[in-house]
């Protein structure tokens, strides 16, 4: 009986009927097109000649030109903003990953007094609207002398990035069996040694997500940067870019070209980590 039913089922596990395959690919291609289109359009617009953005016509390849890029790099403060953004994002990523993983590990593994409090704090912090924090935070930063300082901005970004990252790391550590920790400790490692040498390497997919998220938080943030970095040469990309499409004057050519330049580092970081983004590393580790 069971052998008879098993035969058709075996086929469905290996592959699908052609119709199902077409539907599946059709759905995925449609979704990919939707996700890709605005970005493609951005790149195409940026390659139009100066003022080419003023037409919606779909004839874009008429006179491709790098004019917009030349203007962004040569005639604006863009390189300075880029440097500031890179510094802030890199620092936020390194510190954010380290702090989030230790915190995540502690709340995943140890039941210590204040454990629930820490978890609540991490969750509640995510709910704070910028509107309520930004004025007092500005005063605080001014008092500490951290205005117009990249470290000040990095600390502000950490308060945004770390709670989420710690939360994500905690969820991931929860899926790593405790037997692995215990094995490490039986071998004579300290709790921190266990974390650093045994658990952290297993958590690479989650670390990648955390790093990516920290980077994107810093790279794409606007509100804090606008308020804290008022000096011309301290601006980050998110602040500077707003000048290109202001209230009274806008140049979408400059904006699209710089948007492409901003998206490149983001996409590069992304391609570096995406291999780790979704992998079944733990599943393998647990079984063996």
């Amino acid at each position: 009986m069971s052998t008879v039913t098993a035969t058709p089922k075996a086929r469905s596990r290996g592959g699908r009927g052609p119709l199902a395959s077409i539907l599946l690919h059709g759905a995925l291609i449609t979704a990919s097109l939707i996700s890709l289109f605005p970005v493609v359009w951005l790149v195409l617009t940026s390659l139009k000649p100066r003022d080419g953005w003023l037409s919606s016509e779909l004839e874009i390849f008429n006179r491709p030109s790098l004019d917009n890029y030349a203007r962004v790099l040569g005639e604006t403060e863009f390189p300075t903003w880029l440097l500031n953004s890179v510094l802030a994002a890199a620092l936020t990523t390194v510190l954010g990953v380290f702090v989030a993983s230790t915190t995540g590990y502690a709340i995943s593994r140890f039941r210590f007094p204040g454990h629930r409090g820490v978890m609540w704090l991490l969750l509640v912090t995510q709910m704070f609207p910028v509107a309520i924090l930004i004025v007092p935070l500005y005063n605080l930063m001014a008092g500490l002398g951290l205005l117009n300082q990249i470290p000040g901005l990095v600390i502000a970004y950490l308060t945004v990035a770390v709670p989420f990252c710690a939360w994500m790391m905690k969820s991931y550590f929860d899926t790593i069996p405790r037997e692995i920790d215990q094995a490490g400790m039986v071998d004579g490692l300290t709790p921190f040694g266990t974390f650093w040498r045994v658990v952290l390497p297993l958590a690479r997919p989650s670390l990648a997500v955390t790093a990516f998220y920290s980077f994107m938080t810093a790279w794409g943030e606007v509100a804090y940067a606008t308020v804290f970095m008022s000096q011309e040469e301290k601006r980050t990309l998110g602040v500077g870019l707003q000048q290109f499409v202001g209230q009274h004057w806008s140049d979408w050519g400059l904006l699209t070209a710089s948007a492409v330049l901003i998206a490149i580092p983001a996409a590069a970081v992304f391609l570096l980590v995406q291999r780790h983004l979704v992998t079944g590393l733990t599943a393998g580790a647990t079984k063996s």
Binding site: L28, S35, V99, P136, T194, W219, A267, V278
Partner: protein, 338 residues
């Protein structure tokens, strides 16, 4: 469990037991040295969480307290203390109690904005989760070109939020935006997307869905991959239909991830500032303004109304705390405790 680890500090030996062991002496209270005991037992955990607590406490806790205080005063740009050159102008605002709350809660504006914010959050999170889950399940299957699809589908996440907002504002532009160009090419009339309250709302929801789906997809795909394949194989051998497998293996297997991402998604969407601020600027009129953008506008346009803005902020925070508490209760009732 703890005993078997021998010389290793007892802190981490048996994480499950440590709670009971750590609390017992604390309850006895008067026993000398219990702080020292707690220190030796828990210092690893504390040392690992301290940096977060300090940074978050100083940079969120203090401004929060200050914000709550401002909401009880009548502070505006005109009467807070300032230092202009060498002249120090003292603050003249005063404590007004709950007046700000009363006037906001009794105004129709608040409830109107709240209604739209709730619709915005529910529609966005529902679509994020539904589309994200569908895509994750498709990507979880053996599909040719899976890694290519994955990269393409995650792409909106890789673009900084403010850049996306600007791109979409350009796409929605009524005169030279490509969306209207396509509508015209298809023989339909151009739509003034951002000029009409209804279409403006559709536009911002569309952008936010485009932005938020990749995160849900990645998180849920991770969840799907952590479900052991053996469960599906066993179910297939037992003759379970695809729906039964989804209902009884996939859904329970995703519970932990889902509960986290839905809560986070709700909070983020509720507070989603840049999309609405950069695309519609809250307009036309106030029609697409959610609570957060309205509070920001109070604080940073015209005569800056710090106390009014702080009051809106406190109300938003209170709403979210209530939401999270109810959500957590509901989860716990179903046996999921965090």
């Amino acid at each position: 469990m703890a005993a078997s680890t021998g010389p290793v500090p007892e802190t981490a030996g048996g994480p499950d037991r440590a709670e009971g062991a750590g609390r017992a002496p604390a309850r006895r209270g008067a026993e000398p040295g219990r702080i020292r005991l707690a220190l030796t037992r828990h210092w690893y955990a504390w040392a690992m969480t301290t940096p977060v607590i300090v940074v978050v406490g100083v940079l969120v806790g203090w401004p929060l307290a200050r914000g709550v205080y401002l909401s009880l005063t009548d502070a505006t740009e005109a009467n807070v203390g300032r230092t202009i050159g060498v002249n120090v102008i003292p603050a003249t605002y005063k404590f007004v109690g709950l007046d700000n709350y009363l006037s906001i809660l009794s105004s129709g504006l608040f409830w109107e904005r709240l209604g739209w914010t709730v619709v915005w959050t529910a529609v966005c999170v529902g679509l994020h989760y539904g589309i994200g889950l569908a895509l994750a399940m498709m990507l979880h299957r053996k599909v040719r070109g899976r890694s290519v699809y994955r990269v393409l589908l995650i792409l909106p996440w890789a673009i900084p939020g403010f850049v996306s907002a600007f791109i979409w504002r350009y796409l929605f532009n009524s005169d030279f935006g490509v969306i209207n160009a396509m509508l015209k090419a298809a023989g339909l009339g151009a739509v003034g997307w951002l000029d009409d309250p209804f279409t403006a709302k559709i536009a911002v929801i569309a952008v936010n869905v485009w932005l938020g789906v990749p995160f849900m997809m990645v998180a849920l795909l991770g969840g799907l991959q952590s479900i052991p394949a053996e469960l599906y194989e066993a179910a297939e051998v037992d003759g379970a239909t695809p729906w039964q497998r989804f209902r009884h293996i996939t859904v329970p297997g995703l519970r932990s991830v889902s509960s986290t991402v839905v809560l986070l998604g709700t909070i983020w969407t509720f507070n989603m500032f840049p999309i609405i601020y950069l695309i519609t600027k809250g307009g036309p009129g106030h029609s697409s303004e959610i609570l957060v953008t309205y509070a920001f506008r109070e604080a940073f346009t015209g005569v800056r109304d710090y106390s009014g803005s702080a009051t809106w902020g406190v109300l938003i925070l209170a709403l979210l705390v209530v939401l999270a508490t109810v959500y957590r209760r509901a989860l716990r009732r179903q046996g999921e405790v965090w």
